[in-house]
């Protein structure tokens, strides 16, 4: 499939955790998704909630796994994730009979959304307690997957040694919080 320039750009912006790109996509396909979900007998509020979770799952897959869609469009991919979440919702609501009735162009996409360990949950709480500069540098490294040199390029740190030492101090601070508990 030939991807349009705007699709390619949007994907690249999503990989760079660009929140404006996320908003653009959210607004662009919101109504279409809510209409799509109504075909499963799902009301608008629930549909909007499922849509939000789908957009977030897609966005995080772009950021963390550096997703590059070559054979499908963002819309098809997003609706595939949404379809999977709709089925999960219907299963929970025990409306399984309806599930079999929908035939459409979207292939269900099940993302391996991580089951969070207690350690990761505790860590996520402690991360909120450290300084903003620490949160920022650790996020760039661990969440965005930027190398030390890329962090130097994208921030005001003067060199890689400064980034390394700041990152190391932040990790120490985080570990101290763990020990306190």
């Amino acid at each position: 499939m030939n991807r349009t320039l705007s699709e390619t750009l949007l994907q690249s912006r999503l990989r760079n955790d660009d929140k404006n790109a996320l908003e653009t996509i959210y607004k662009k396909y919101r109504l279409a998704f809510i209409n799509y979900a109504s075909g499963f007998d799902i009301d608008n509020t629930v549909a909007a909630d499922i849509y939000q979770d789908s957009v977030i799952a897609m966005h995080q897959n772009f950021v963390i796994n550096k997703l590059n869609l070559e054979k499908s469009s963002i819309k098809t991919y997003l609706f595939g994730i949404g379809k999977n979440k709709i089925y999960k919702y219907l299963k929970e609501q025990k409306k399984t009979t309806l599930v079999n009735q929908q035939v459409d162009d979207y292939e269900e996409i099940c993302l391996n959304e991580n089951v969070h360990s207690d350690k990761a949950i505790e860590l996520s709480k402690n991360l909120k307690l450290i300084s903003e500069s620490c949160q920022k540098i650790l996020k760039l490294y661990y969440y965005r997957g930027l190398t030390i040199d890329e962090i130097v390029e994208q921030t005001d740190y003067k060199d890689s040694a400064t980034v390394r030492s700041h990152k190391s101090r932040c990790m120490k601070r985080l570990k101290t919080l763990f020990k306190k508990k």
Binding site: A48, I56, I121, S124, T147
Partner: protein, 235 residues
């Protein structure tokens, strides 16, 4: 190659074939490498959890602002009708000013004077105040609550109390306001004013007068005229 660099390349899916073999060997045989790998994985998951939470709040706010725009359009369509109704019932309303609507006469939503909202900025604090300004008090309440979990700022607690009050959750609002009376923050006169209004709403006029007199004792300029007028109404 440094171990950290190898792990980062694994997560970025950029390992070469040789590096993959090296990575796999180290993961199975080197305990320190395994610890470093687990640490990286947990950090990534922790950020994933926090980011998910932030993004969800952001999208919920987007959703709420869509509804506000819709409401505004709807309000404009019915503005003529509403004005006519107001004119008809206005006289009746002022003649029959009972104690229960005394509260409504004096109650005004307190503006956001703490955190100037910068559009496009995305953090939980600005999300909370955007929601507050857009009258999405449920979203604001959730956000303020989340902030207070990690940052016990009494100014934020004041706005948390007001989001409750703006949703007519009078009892929990009163509890939070009472807890703030002995604290050091920027909104002491406001706290006594809203506490007095809650007392009025609860028909506890004695308590309302007590709160208002305490407020007058502060020599603050906040609602000076309204305080005088409300005391007269209550006596």
């Amino acid at each position: 190659m440094q171990h950290e660099e190898l792990i980062l390349k694994y997560f970025n899916k950029t390992l070469t074939n040789n590096e993959e073999v090296l990575f796999s060997n180290l993961l199975n045989k080197d305990a320190d490498f395994k610890t470093l790998f687990d640490e990286h994985k947990n950090m990534q998951l922790a950020f994933e959890i926090n980011e998910k939470e932030k993004l969800k709040l952001h999208l919920q706010n987007l959703e709420s602002s869509k509804k506000s725009v819709f409401k505004t359009i709807l309000n404009q369509k019915f503005i003529v009708f509403a004005t006519a109704c107001c004119l008809l019932i206005g006289g009746f309303y002022f003649i029959n000013n009972s104690s229960s609507n005394l509260y409504d006469n004096y109650f005004e939503v307190y503006p956001n004077v703490l955190e100037p909202v910068v559009r496009g900025e995305m953090n939980i604090k600005s999300d909370a105040f955007i929601a507050y300004e857009n009258q999405n008090y449920q979203v604001a309440e959730n956000n303020f609550k989340l902030i207070l979990e990690t940052n016990p700022d009494d100014n934020i607690r004041f706005y948390y109390a007001l989001t409750l009050l703006n949703q007519n959750k009078t009892k929990p609002a009163q509890k939070v306001l009472n807890s703030l009376k002995q604290k050091n923050h920027d909104f002491l006169p406001e706290i006594y004013w809203y506490s007095a209004l809650i007392a009025v709403k609860n028909h506890d006029f004695k308590l309302a007068l007590k709160e208002l007199q305490a407020l007058q004792g502060m020599n603050s300029t906040f609602k000076k005229e309204e305080i005088k007028k409300l005391i007269e109404d209550l006596n």
